[in-house]
Amino acid sequence: MNKIYLDHAATTPVAEEVFEAMKPYLKEHYGNPSSVYSTGREAAQAVSEARGKVARSIGADEREIYFTSGGTEADNTVLKGIALALQEKGKHIITSRIEHPAVLESCRQLEKYLGFEITYLDVDKQGFVDPDDVKKAIRDDTILVSIMMANNEIGTIEPIKEISRIVKERGIYMHTDAVQAAGQIPIDVEELGVDMLSISSHKIYGPKGVGALYARKGVRFAPLLTGGAQERNRRAGTENVAGIVGFGEAMRIACENLEEKADYLRRLRDKLIDGIEENIDEVILNGPRDERRLPNNVHFCFRYIEGESILLNLDMLGIAASSGSACSSGSLDPSHVLLAIGHPHEIAHGSLRLSLGKDNTEEEINYVIEVLPGIIKKTRSMSPLYEG
């Protein structure tokens, strides 16, 4: 049975070139980049080159890139680091109800332990944050606005540029979680106007356990990991050299011919969306349908059934998919994103995310369109909610 992997928003395989780039740093060039001697200098040089690649991919300066252990750490560093550094200035942060848990749970900690007030902005039915809502929510004690660039469940691309303009006018720090956007749509920190931005390697065919935080020169934040002087005193800990090298290479490749690759995915995506809508009744496409949707994201709710059954049935046919976000699959609550866009619980429970990648083929998409209706039918036939 051929495997069909349709969960690229959860994680991606490491590209062959990326693996080859990493290998020497797992083996012969094992030095500690902080060391004086030559093996250490080789490692330091490799980290520096990777930093350059990441910086260039998002229009930043090398000195504005801080490597982290992933998107989660980048998000945590922003939320907690800004909160600690600027708490004298104010204890109010604005974010949205559909952020990744790395942002939302950090906000919860700030509420619980440091007395912060957080405004969680509502979104519309397609998952958009209204820049006007941001404007209205800003207070004199607001120190940070954090809105994701693209949603990891329903693929909505937020109007970050418009939001940034409003936020920066008020002299407040603007952060965006670009973990899902990276490698899918162009990112230019200057054009976006953000002060901080999070990326993760394993979503762009790089290794797991590495990511980066972009922080504009001059932005003040307390480090989350303190200790050694690595990452210019902003992120302590011996560098994951091989991981960083792989991430740099993955980022470079991801941004090569980005538009062309995105167009390919958009074509598959639209075929899949159309195929599902044509062949299955009572389905709801979540997220927008236009250019404001991530090129690789397909996300539906199927009425009357629960998402996990769909996943298990797909898995038995060799198709890997997700009901929403990978990190919440241990949880039993319905997706906070689907509730935020207005679905009742029983509909929110019936979600399926199919996220495409560069190696997916039209054939694979056809196969999914062929088998999915049967799975939905069978599952619905068991449902006490379905009167089909």
Binding site: E105, R108, Q109, K112, Y304, I305, E306, E308, S309, L312, M316, G330, S331, L332, D333, P334, P344, H345, E346, H349, S381, M382, S383, P384, L385
Partner: protein
């Protein structure tokens, strides 16, 4: 994550469906929770002659529903009442910890059906009300709540 038995019952669920002239019906769970189990029983001389289920829920919910129908078919009501959620989980070679409490309510549906049939009151256990949707999480690993 799931045992082979669970996957077997999930893939080939026994006794799916409804019974038009059921003698008893037991339904537990709710959509907020993400699990609803509805059992239809045909009872004759205190024996469960036929039983069918409809379930909205995850793999564990479907497998436990299927398993409970298999366990009680042909049993007396008293025997059926001795079957607990734990019995069902064990018959399936166990369930993943995270599913143990929230999606393991087929026996509850069974008890509810039987008690209604006997006109007794059925007291649903707290964790199946699921108004507090974090419940399972909590009971399960108290430290987690501390953690966040």
């Amino acid at each position: 994550m799931y045992s082979e038995k669970v996957m077997d019952h999930f893939t080939n669920p026994r006794n799916v469906g409804s019974i038009e002239d059921a003698d008893a019906i037991g339904e537990v769970g709710n959509p907020v929770c993400g699990d609803i189990i509805k059992l239809y029983l045909k009872i004759k001389d205190d024996v469960i002659e036929d039983i069918k289920f409809k379930t909205f829920g995850c793999g564990a919910a479907i497998a436990t529903s299927s398993m409970v129908t298999e366990l009680v078919k042909g049993k007396t009501l008293d025997e059926a009442l001795r079957i607990s959620n734990q019995t069902v989980a064990e018959a399936l070679d166990g369930l993943p910890p995270v599913k143990m409490h929230c999606s393991n309510l087929a026996a509850d549906a069974l008890h509810k059906a039987i008690k209604q049939y006997r006109n007794e009151e059925f007291v649903e256990e707290d964790h199946h009300h699921c108004e507090h949707k974090n419940f399972c999480h909590k009971e399960f690993n108290i430290e987690l709540d501390e953690a966040n």
